[in-house]
């Protein structure tokens, strides 16, 4: 198992280095085969480990730490490179390597015409390596290494089409906003080291209960040690997982190619925050206030992002806000103590959200790079395979299922989260439950809205500039034929195969694994905090709670059906009626505008002031330039005194003599 762990993690790195440096010298096909091959090997090695932890097919696995080498030893602050694999990591391993391998494969088709393919594939593999380092970290600093590594890869991939100013802006925004979170993460690591004198995760988790109740000084306040440490670490998680306040980078990150959105901004990287909270769950359990913060932020994000998702027109942005919202579910699940449910939703979400993104990519591919859903319609008949894949994804995310019989992936995980929040019984738990339930309604609405706008109705293709470009017609020239004579083509096999595999995941991942993820303490093997009482309470919630998710799902579907199939004039009337509310939501609650006015503009303004008025106007003016001026003035005076005239020297001598006599006499 040791060798296979090393291979899983380092093969993608090797592929990234060889492919990235070889680039054009090796050629497209070689680099693509190399990176994709490496990922499929990693994936093939990961599944047996995961199945081993499940104990299926007679396989077995146990927690392992594979030392790699020393990293830093500075006094008592020491941390090494090491790969830790336990149940929690194994779950992440299969998610990362599976989605990554499929995305690599998908990109063969999707990036077919791009001139820079080797670079793209090298970045994808580099990302996978960094993500694997993150989830196999045995100490907080290595986790931070992976954390920043995925940030780098995300930056590079969002800005992959680097000629576009919007892509560059989005890339920098993603990196810088993440760094705000990282500030919290770093302070959290420093604090943890200060308190526990170690950065080793198992040692911290073991010692955490002992620190319960202790207090610590922070920024001049005395606070509960565990609460402040966990909140600082959680700020890091908020940045990476795009939670309320630090979420603004995620929708903009859709500037990257769609396979990137599927891999990084849906299935893996953005879930790193959830992973971190689960990894440190025994620590968070000693910090009730911090958990309250986690619950509140998660629930608020899940509601907030869902509202925005209902109004967006860009197909990728709808899914991006949906991701943001689903991450909120995971966080409040962790916040109420249902870490298993959080991880389960992470697991199922990875499949159906990657599926939705890749499906959207297939639609965009078919529609000549048009991303605006207003210009779609009736695609069901033209790209049926993509349609059915997206359908599976939608059924999964909206949580379609029949209690005790069968459900799509999201049915199991989302229901478990809502039940856990209700079962938790506190005020915050109830808040999370209702926010989550309402968000589920919105989820169902925007998901079906997406489906109806894209696949049903009459074609509205000719109004799209991209399509006009393709068929060389204006809407007037096309007349009655709103397709403009455009023929959407189904995607190639390299794109359809990943869709097919993920469809299976979206259908069966919930049904197959719910017993282990939610109900089995043995499965987790101590890798997360397992709250047995909560799980009992979760199963004992009233029937109406269990049916809530299904009820709101059906309601959302019905509203979407009425508004986008039955009577398509409803949305317009609604917007007319609630102009202000719609504008507020459509403009994403004005977060971007607010941040721009409060942070970005003042930073540049201050920089200019400090430079021109501070450095030049004050320091230089009165410092070196002032000194030079004073010397020049002084020497001008001295020059005049040394005139060479005997009389003036005699005068000075006389004055000096008088002064000396006066001094002596006094």
């Amino acid at each position: 198992m040791q060798t296979s762990i090393l291979l899983i993690v380092f093969l993608p790195l090797l592929a990234a280095i060889v492919g990235g440096l070889g680039n054009r010298a090796l050629g497209n096909t070689v680099v693509k085969s190399l990176t994709t091959g490496a990922l499929f090997v990693s994936c093939a090695l990961s599944w047996p480990i995961f199945l081993g932890f499940l104990g299926w097919f007679g396989l077995s696995a146990e927690t392992q730490v594979v030392p790699v080498m020393t990293w830093v030893q500075s006094g008592t602050l020491t941390f090494d490179w090491a790969l830790r694999v336990d149940t929690l990591t194994a779950v992440m391993l299969v998610v990362i390597t599976t989605v990554s391998a499929l995305v690599h494969l998908y990109s063969w088709g999707y990036m077919e015409e791009d001139p820079d393919q080797p670079r793209f594939f090298a970045y994808l593999s580099l990302f996978t390596f960094a993500m694997l380092m993150l989830v196999t970290a045995d100490n907080l600093v290595q986790m931070f290494f992976g954390w920043e590594g995925v940030g780098l890869a995300s930056y590079l991939l969002i800005g992959f089409w680097f000629r576009k100013p919007s892509a560059n802006k989005a890339a920098i925004k993603a990196f810088v906003v993440n760094r705000v979170g990282d500030l919290g993460f770093m302070l959290g690591i420093f604090g943890t080291y200060l308190v526990f004198q170690t950065t080793s995760i198992p040692e911290i988790l073991a010692a955490a209960p002992g620190m319960s109740g202790s207090t610590i000084g922070f920024l001049g306040y005395r606070l509960q040690t565990m609460d402040i440490l966990c909140i600082l670490l959680f700020i890091g998680a908020m940045g990476k997982s795009a939670q309320l306040g630090l979420h603004t980078w995620l929708p903009d990150a859709m500037e990257g190619p769609t396979p990137v959105s599927a891999l990084i901004h849906a299935a893996t990287m953005v879930t790193a925050g959830v992973f971190m909270v689960c990894r440190l769950s025994p620590m968070f359990e000693t910090a009730p206030v911090a958990l309250g913060v986690v619950t509140f932020i998660g629930a608020a994000t899940c509601f907030f992002a869902a509202t925005i998702g209902t109004t967006q027109w860009d197909i990728k942005r709808v899914i991006a806000y949906s991701t943001c919202s689903q991450l909120g579910y995971m966080f409040f699940a962790a916040g109420v103590g249902a870490y298993g449910a959080a991880m389960f939703h992470l697991f199922t979400h990875a499949f159906f959200k990657a599926l939705l993104f890749l499906g959207a990519g297939s639609v965009i591919h078919a529609m000549h790079h048009e991303q605006d859903m207003r210009y779609y319609g009736n695609l069901r008949k033209h790209i049926p395979l993509t349609f059915w894949a997206m359908m599976a994804g939608t059924l999964a995310i909206t949580g379609v299922g029949v209690l005790y019989v069968f459900g799509f992936a999201g049915f199991y995980s989302k229901d478990a989260i809502l039940e856990a929040a209700y079962a938790r019984g506190t005020g915050l738990g109830n808040f999370a439950f209702w926010a989550g339930a309402f968000a589920a309604l919105l989820t169902s609405f925007y998901s079906w809205r997406l489906m109806f706008l894209t696949f049903w109705g009459r074609p509205r293709w000719i109004e799209s500039e991209h399509i006009q470009h393709s068929v060389h017609k204006t809407p007037e020239e096309a007349g009655e034929d709103t397709t403009g004579g455009y023929h959407p083509h189904e995607s190639p096999a390299s794109m359809l195969v990943p869709l097919g595999v993920l469809t299976l995941g979206a259908i069966f991942a919930g049904f197959l694994f719910t017993g282990d993820f939610i109900d089995s303490e043995a499965f987790w093997g101590g890798s997360i905090y397992y709250n047995e009482n909560l799980i009992h309470a979760l199963h004992g919630v009233p029937y109406w709670v269990k049916l809530t998710a299904t009820f709101v799902m059906l309601t959302g579907f019905a509203i979407a059906w009425f508004a986008y199939i039955r009577d398509t004039s409803i949305p317009g009337k609604f917007v007319e009626q609630f102009r202000l509310v719609h504008a507020f939501v459509y403009n994403k609650w004005y977060f971007d505008e607010l941040y721009h006015a409060v942070f970005v503009k003042p930073a540049f303004w201050l920089g200019r002031q400090f430079w021109l008025r501070g450095d030049k106007g004050l320091i230089d003016r009165f410092g070196p330039d002032g000194a030079a001026w004073a010397v020049a003035q002084g020497s001008a005076v001295a020059k005049r005194v040394q005139s060479g005239y005997l009389t003036s020297y005699a005068l000075i001598m006389l004055l000096g003599l008088v002064a000396a006599i006066t001094w002596v006499l006094m």
């Binding site: 920043e148 080291y193 209960p209 709250n531 009482n533």
Partner: protein, 518 residues
């Protein structure tokens, strides 16, 4: 090493080569300079290989009495060793970087550089107070000439500013040194490092040294010479300035201020913290609005060096080791960034950021190196600067969470200004035709960037090679200053354990959140 005076040899090789350079034409001068610096690099590697980690504190000692108690005394510990290695590593790179860009008075230029090398090594190897002073101050002269003769359009102003600033502090330091020698009766640095000056005297001695080191560092508000000097200096001059000369300030704090005046250091720690906090925020914001590449990197240097100063005055192992690692890492990375600027400056003869754009299209190899060094400057884990900054900030956190919070904002602002720079230079469209026509790295440029890239990654992934030689010296220093170490603001206090399992569901009366008792 037997009796071979390796340190003297390292001082002599460049000096002899410098004299030779005066008498020859441009071409042989370049070759002589390169050969001499490579020879010194080889000696440096030998020095490192023969340095006995965990052995005596002072190794490779040499001693010769001169006049009136003034001694020619050399010797190094791990700290000095690493800085010497940094110097000899950067020198051949500087010579190569000037290979084509310097066309007038080549012999004199090479001579100035070689003299510079002798003086830099001398600063780190000197064990006699006055010998140190001579090396420390004489270093100004070649740099003054390099900026003043081979610099850009505004070189005279920049060179005077550089000279005035640095000289101002040195005068005070010399007076302090004279008093110290008079008081302690010796000029031997290792002895002085163990000598306990009266706390009252320490105060003004510390301030006198601080005046000199703060300018060299440079700390806010005596930093304004640096952007001008960098902008006007030729590429190689900037590399040495950022790579080694700035480190003399930090070295001065480690060698003199902290061990000789521990009480005063503790007393003035707040001053250092305050100036450093201001520097991090202010200079980072200033870097954000620069239109001149070299100025931007120069301002970023001030911000990075502020992390060094807070680390040094954290009075603990992590802070000190972190500060040293930042010095080494910054020496490599900022040097490399100046080289990157030099590469495109040689082609287009402008430092204005807006004149470039889209370079990753026509110069992909260049873009890769530039990206690596940009990321290293931002402090991405896996690169040299992360290790240093992380340790330094971890060290200062044990003293003050406020200082840490303010200084850590540097990682956000640093990312902003460096990525903004990278976007405008390497990404975007090729809006300027002449910039779009520039050719990618040639073999010579490849040879100057690749070694630094390797070193940056090495320091980031396996910093143990660099931490090990100085571990004992840092420990000794920490033991020396421990008596004055300031108390941290954390003050961890045990308390009544809160009920376990914040999420216990069984307890009906009240739950976790209600216990938010601060």
């Amino acid at each position: 090493m037997g009796g071979f005076p390796i340190l003297t040899a390292m001082l002599a090789v460049p000096l002899i080569a410098a004299i030779a350079c005066f008498f020859v034409e441009a071409k042989p001068a370049r070759v002589i300079a390169l050969a001499a610096t490579l020879a010194n690099l080889a000696l440096g590697v030998l020095l490192w290989a023969n340095y006995d980690i965990g052995g005596a504190q002072w190794q490779f000692q040499e001693e010769a009495n001169l006049f009136a108690g003034f001694q020619y005394k050399l010797g190094i510990d791990g700290i000095a060793l690493l800085l010497i290695i940094l110097s000899v590593f950067l020198m051949p790179i500087c010579i190569l970087a000037s290979w084509e860009s310097i066309q007038k008075r080549v012999g004199e230029f090479m001579a100035a550089f070689l003299v510079m090398e002798t003086l830099m090594i001398g600063v780190f190897a000197a064990q006699d107070l006055f010998l140190f002073y001579i090396f420390f101050e004489a270093g100004l002269i070649p740099m003054y000439l390099i900026i003043g003769i081979w610099g850009g359009a505004d070189r005279i102003y920049a060179s005077y500013k550089f000279f005035l600033y640095t000289l101002l502090g040195s005068v005070l330091m010399l007076i302090a040194m004279l008093w110290m020698v008079n008081q302690a009766g010796t000029t031997d640095i290792p002895t002085l490092m163990q000598y306990d000056f009266a706390p009252g005297a320490q105060t003004w001695l510390w301030l006198a040294f601080f005046a000199s080191f703060a300018v060299k560092m440079p700390m806010w508000p005596v930093h304004t010479w640096l952007p001008d000097a960098h902008v006007q200096a030729p590429t190689a001059g900037s590399v040495i300035l950022a790579g080694v000369l700035l480190k003399m300030g930090g070295y001065g704090f480690i060698r003199f201020s902290l061990p000789m005046f521990p009480e005063a250091s503790a007393q003035f720690a707040w001053l250092v913290f305050a100036l450093s906090m201001i520097a991090v925020v202010l200079t980072s914001l200033i870097a954000l609005v620069q239109e001149d590449m070299k100025k931007l990197i120069a301002y970023s240097s001030v911000a990075h060096m502020a992390i060094v100063t807070v680390g040094l005055f954290a009075f603990n192992v992590q802070g000190l080791e972190g500060a040293m690692m930042v010095m080494l890492g910054h020496g490599l990375v900022s040097g490399a960034l100046f080289l990157c600027v030099g590469v495109i400056y040689d082609r287009l003869h402008t430092r204005e950021i807006d004149r470039y754009g889209g370079l990753s299209i026509n110069m992909p190899k260049y873009a890769l190196f530039f990206m690596l060094f940009t990321m290293a400057s931002i402090g991405l884990p896996g690169t040299s600067n992360f290790v240093g900054e992380f340790l330094a900030l971890a060290g200062i956190y044990q003293v003050s969470s406020w200082v840490t919070l303010v200084c850590t904002t540097g990682i956000i602002l640093g990312a902003a200004y460096m990525l903004y720079l990278y976007w405008r230079v390497a990404f975007g469209i090729q809006k300027n035709e002449d910039a779009a026509a520039m050719s990618d790295l040639n073999v010579r440029e490849w040879a100057i960037l690749a070694p630094i890239a390797a070193a940056v990654l090495w320091m980031g992934v396996y910093p143990e090679s660099f931490l090990a030689p100085m571990r004992k010296d840092i420990a000794a220093l920490e033991a020396r200053v421990a008596r004055a170490a300031p108390e941290g603001d954390a003050q961890l206090a045990a308390g009544e354990p809160r009920r376990q399992a914040a999420n216990a569901v069984a307890a009906p009366e009240h739950h976790g959140e209600d216990e938010g008792d601060h």
